[in-house]
């Protein structure tokens, strides 16, 4: 058997499949590296996201190989041999399913090493999510081998790939529709998630049931010799999708409170970040202190700088009314460089200062938003002595206005402008003295 496995691996398209799948997975994972390089849940999401392009390739290769016997016209020759045909197919099953799984696993292994070096939170559920992704690759391979035996025509492989690609593409376009339990279960890609959320194990198990059923259908399809047996071969997939959809929780992705728990600077509980982003704390402390100290004399100035615990991707948990003027909430998206993670000090200072003075969510119109950011830029430059060369003319004018004011009046004007920027007023008008602060 081992020699036959070697022969299959050597003389089939398995090696080519390995290289193509590994390359595609690597490229598409790398394109997403900033999302997942320091967090397990986004790694699972990104890895599963590659299914969109990888699985059609796997399916095409498997269909092509599955049709090999009939294309090579060896069915007659093999029919007179004693080896049962299910045993005859075993090397191909093992080599192809193993190739697809190994190719994905090798790249994911590399990604896991990257994440392991950076992650500061481990919910423990990511292995299950990755395993379901591998199971999906194996299941699609087996289905391809089965389809190839039923439909050995050369056109079957590209046709299968295109159909799967289109199905996956259209199925994940939600157009604002709510999550559909059946669609979520069937799709190899995960619904949108981020560092602050987790994939429910119950959902991964439901998907595992579906993909196991799909794989079983592929095997049965490959060994079926009658039309009735082929029809019956569909039963595991149907049962798998039904059972999976029933067992799947209504929401696959849920908040992860342990990931968003706050971790504060040693001896300074004014500056905190989430557990999952605690690596950012050291980079946040200096800019945050600078902003807090600058605002210390400003009436109504902020007292704390915290990482925003609410994901911009989700609506859950976001307060609907009443801005907390005492707390500057910043988002700290990871930035990776050569596999490491770093925040540029100037960039962090800019983020903190902006979040301290304006809530971008307040301003829908482009002009409104521009005015708010001009006010923010002027306040930041006046208070923190940051460079003014990149200020717009309107921001420059506001900056000059602030600088011309006596120190107490300037602080009062800055406080009023900040309040307007965070409560959906017109901060530029306030800073310019044309409108009273709220």
């Amino acid at each position: 058997m081992f020699r036959m496995l070697r022969l299959e691996a050597k003389r089939s398209i398995a090696l080519l499949l390995f290289l193509v799948v590994a390359a595609l997975t690597r490229v598409f994972l790398w394109m997403d590296v900033q999302q997942w390089a320091a967090s397990w849940t986004p790694l699972v999401h990104s890895m599963r996201g590659t299914a969109w392009i990888v699985l059609p390739v796997v399916l095409a290769a498997a269909i092509w190989h599955g049709g090999r016997e009939r294309r090579a016209e060896v069915s007659e020759l093999f029919a007179a041999t004693p080896r049962p045909h299910r045993v005859r197919l075993l090397p191909a099953f093992l080599v192809f399913a193993g190739t697809a799984a190994l190719a994905v696993a090798a790249v994911v292994g590399w990604a896991a090493v990257v994440v392991a070096g950076n992650a500061t939170f481990d919910g423990g559920e990511w292995p299950l999510g990755l395993a379901v992704g591998l199971l999906a690759a194996v299941a699609v391979t087996l289905v391809g081998l089965g389809v190839g035996r039923v439909a050995p025509a050369p056109v079957a492989a590209p046709l299968g790939a295109v159909l799967l690609f289109l199905a996956l593409t259209f199925a994940q376009v939600r157009d604002g529709r709510p999550a559909n339990r059946l669609v979520d279960t069937v799709l190899p890609m995960l619904p949108v998630t981020d560092d602050f959320h987790r994939v429910l194990p119950a959902f991964s198990l439901a998907q595992g049931i579906w993909f196991a059923g799909l794989g079983a259908t592929g095997v049965l399809l490959a060994v079926a010799v009658t039309s009735r047996a082929r029809a019956l071969a569909l039963a595991p997939a149907v049962a798998g999708v039904a059972l999976g959809a029933v067992l799947a929780p209504s929401g696959a992705i849920v908040p992860a409170p342990a990931a968003t728990a706050l971790v504060c600077a040693p001896g300074d509980d004014r500056i905190c970040v989430t557990q999952v982003h605690s690596r950012a704390l050291q980079d946040l402390i200096a800019p945050a202190r600078k902003v807090l100290e600058a605002f210390a004399e400003v009436p109504g100035g902020p007292k704390r700088v915290q990482e925003d615990q609410v994901s911009w991707m989700f609506d859950d948990g976001r307060p609907t009314a009443g801005a907390d003027l005492d707390t500057v909430r910043v988002a700290l998206p990871y930035r990776t460089r050569e596999g490491g993670i770093r925040w540029e000090p100037d960039a962090v200072l800019s983020i903190v200062a902006q979040e301290a003075t304006v809530d971008p969510g307040c301003f829908d119109g482009q002009e409104e938003q521009r005015r708010a950011f001009d006010a923010s830029g002027a306040i930041t430059a006046a208070l923190l002595d940051t460079p003014t060369d990149k200020l717009s003319p309107a921001a420059r004018q506001a900056y000059d206005t602030l600088r011309a004011l006596p120190i107490e009046e300037r602080r009062r004007r800055i406080g009023d402008g900040r309040r307007a920027g965070l409560t959906c007023g017109d901060p530029l008008a306030v800073v310019m003295g044309r409108e009273a602060g709220r």
């Binding site: 036959m4 060896v74 007179a80």
Partner: protein, 270 residues
């Protein structure tokens, strides 16, 4: 083959004929492609002759267990029962080269023959020797590591014969094995057949009657699904006269037997 004795050498031979058929009928669609054939073939090389559509290929496919008979009795290596286990045991002792010899083009000759040895459940410890021996016997030693896709038609045919004999079969069924072989290769092939036929039952379907004369001890002549003649080659030679068409005694005998059969049918019908 040194140290490569397999099932045929150790199995008890409790049967008079390797192939024994009585009133064997095989239908292809609505037509009986093999219609009430009686056959008794033992050790030796037997030729299967007949015009196109006579039922030769259907008969060989049935003997190779690819097709299931619809009527009559068929006993292969002493067994007429066909449980799954018996069929598997029987197939271990069969060698078969179909008319259309399919193969994997990317495999080398050695790999393909080895793959077939695996399918024929040749014990793993003997596979390497068995493969080499089969390749040597068909004179493909120098091309053993060439890909099947690079072989000429004649070489492919020889590779096909190599896979058929890799399990040292008790029954060897060859459907048009000499197609594509040049004269020298055909002579070597006939010698190979005689060699194999010394211990096994070899049935060779062919249109080339000179192959029959050179390699076969017995002949089965088929026409429209039935057997017209079954006997030794000398009786076939003796059946013809100078008035019958043909360039050799065997061809004239072949023509005469077919003519008489047709006349007999016409006579019976009239």
């Amino acid at each position: 083959m040194p140290g490569t004795g397999i099932a045929s050498e150790i199995a008890p031979t409790g049967y008079a004929h390797h192939i024994q058929a009585h009133a064997l009928t095989v239908r292809r669609g609505r037509r009986s492609a093999v219609d009430g054939v009686d056959l008794k073939l033992g050790v030796g090389v037997h030729g299967l002759l007949g015009p196109n559509g006579a039922g030769k290929t259907t008969l060989i496919r049935t003997l190779a267990t690819v097709l299931t008979p619809h009527g009559g009795e068929l006993e292969l290596l002493g067994s007429a029962r066909r449980t799954r286990g018996e069929l598997r045991e029987l197939r271990r002792r069969l060698g078969y080269l179909p008319q259309a010899f399919g193969h994997y083009r990317r495999f080398t000759v050695r790999e393909f023959v080895e793959y077939m040895a695996w399918l024929k459940e040749v014990p793993g410890r003997r596979t390497a020797d068995a493969v080499q021996h089969a390749i040597d016997r068909v004179d493909l030693t120098g091309r053993a590591d060439d890909r099947m896709g690079s072989l000429s038609g004649g070489m492919l045919r020889r590779a096909g014969i190599a896979q058929a004999i890799v399990n040292d079969p008790d029954i060897l069924l060859l459907d048009e094995p000499t197609v594509g072989l040049d004269p020298a290769q055909r002579m070597e092939f006939r010698a190979l057949l005689r060699d194999i036929g010394a211990q096994s039952c070899v049935l060779v379907s062919t249109h080339l009657v000179e192959d029959i004369g050179a390699a076969c001890a017995g002949v089965v002549l088929m026409y429209e699904g039935g057997t017209v003649f079954a006997g030794d080659v000398d009786r076939l030679r003796a059946a013809g006269t100078d008035a019958d068409p043909g360039d050799s005694e065997i061809e004239r005998g072949y023509s005469a037997l077919l003519r008489r059969h047709r006349e007999g049918k016409v006579g019976a019908g009239g």
